[in-house]
């Protein structure tokens, strides 16, 4: 039966129990991403819109049986929930690290116009402290960052090391009580 029917027909054939199962699945996926579970009904509806509107294109095997279609719907729900989490949480890291964003470091290393000598000292202090506190595996990344002309942290030994160097630099910046305001006023 399911091999010849469209996705819309499969959607219409869902029983109330199966629909509830999908809504509960949506609830669990939202909780997994730390999002409010009360949006589960909205998440389910958003997923069905993709099927009804034809923006989702199920394969033949997705419509082969009721169980296959339910699994296909779970995939869509998971996809939409993950998209929501990316959209709604895109700046979480900035706020989670005590509101010390990458801008602090950018200002620290890329604002020489106010006081060139003060800037040079700050930069030297930052890299000296970084080398003192960083484990050996981060040293190639720190060296490359110091040489980098545009002050971006280059990826030498892996993106994880870039992230760790950035975190460490932010920590040092906070210890030095460095803020963009204090730097620009110096």
């Amino acid at each position: 039966m399911y091999g010849t029917t469209t996705a819309l027909a499969c959607l219409n054939a869902l029983t109330a129990d199966e629909r509830n199962q999908l809504v509960f699945f949506a609830q669990r996926r939202l909780a997994f991403f730390g999002l409010p579970t009360e949006l589960s009904e909205d998440l389910y509806q958003q997923s069905t819109i993709g099927v009804i509107g034809g923006t989702r294109h199920p394969r033949e095997q997705d419509l082969a049986s009721q169980e296959a279609f339910l699994n296909y719907m779970r995939g869509i729900i998971n996809s939409v929930a993950e998209g929501w989490s990316r959209r709604e949480c895109s700046v979480t890291k900035e706020y989670r690290s005590n509101h010390c964003s990458l801008d602090v470091i950018q200002d620290m290393v890329a604002k020489p116009d106010a006081d060139p000598q003060g800037f040079k000292d700050l930069r030297e202090t930052l890299f000296r402290r970084l080398r003192e506190e960083a484990p050996a595996r981060l040293l190639p990344t720190i060296d490359a960052w110091e040489q980098c002309p545009d002050d971006r942290i280059p990826c030498v030994t892996g993106r994880k090391h870039v992230y760790l160097v950035r975190q460490l630099a932010q920590k040092i910046a906070r210890k030095l009580e460095f803020t963009p305001e204090s730097h620009s006023s110096s």
């Binding site: 730390g34 909205d42 989490s85």
Partner: protein, 220 residues
């Protein structure tokens, strides 16, 4: 509240898309503010912006968090939300679960609004309700596990970006630790229901069907 250049005064107006979001499911994160009504320090976040013909709209919750983070707002956040909740549609009829959190938290309006129980953990949807309104503000998802006779709790990450970060701070101020946030009776019930956390490394053996001559890969 108005601000801006003379002749171009901004007003803090709140918007929500009544067509896109039915009122019954309106959450505070779906309340928007127009870009012209934001202060100049608000960072442009393309992922946040709802771009329309009349300009960009941003989640008001994220904007409020920004104001507090930049020290441009300093009022008690619970008082602010109490005032805000009077402006929002009062369509919430289902009552949040009471008696699950400790007395201090419950008294100050924190509630468990939903619970998902799994064999090894419980996921509690924590909300905040003001004294004179039914509108619920999302605080976070609290993951509760048992470690023998004790409870362990932590917020599920990444969570939303918005006022819930401040509410989580208020929540933690009122509880010695996250594990102590539950009412005594409910904590006992959770410990009895949940399986204790398994320690040690879990390994997943993946049989290499394509190359039977090669040893099995072990992902740890």
């Amino acid at each position: 509240m108005t601000w801006g250049e003379p002749g171009r005064r901004h007003q803090a107006r709140l918007y929500w898309n009544a067509k896109e979001l039915p009122t019954r499911s309106l959450t505070f994160e779906q309340v928007l503010i127009h870009e012209e009504d934001t202060l100049g320090t608000f960072p442009h976040q393309p992922a946040f912006a709802r771009v329309t013909e009349v300009g960009k709209f941003y989640p008001f919750s994220a904007y409020l968090l920004h104001l507090y983070a930049q020290k441009e707002a300093g009022r008690d956040v619970l008082e602010v939300l109490t005032e805000l909740s009077r402006l929002l549609p009062q369509k919430r009829t289902e009552s949040p679960i009471t008696g699950k959190l400790n007395a201090v938290l419950e008294k100050d309006g924190f509630r468990v609004t939903n619970r998902i129980t799994e064999p090894a953990r419980a996921l509690l949807d924590i909300g905040w309700v003001s004294a004179d309104s039914d509108f619920r503000f999302f605080v976070g998802i609290l993951e509760v596990k048992t470690d023998g006779p004790r409870l362990k709790a932590q917020w599920v990450l990444p969570g939303l970006i918005g006022i819930n970060h401040l509410l989580q701070g208020e929540f933690q101020k009122r509880s010695a630790s996250l594990a102590d946030c539950l009412a005594e009776e409910y904590a006992k019930q959770v410990i009895a229901e949940l399986q204790p956390q398994k320690h040690g490394k879990q390994t997943l053996h993946v049989r290499n069907h394509d190359c039977p001559g090669l040893p099995e890969r072990v992902n740890s």
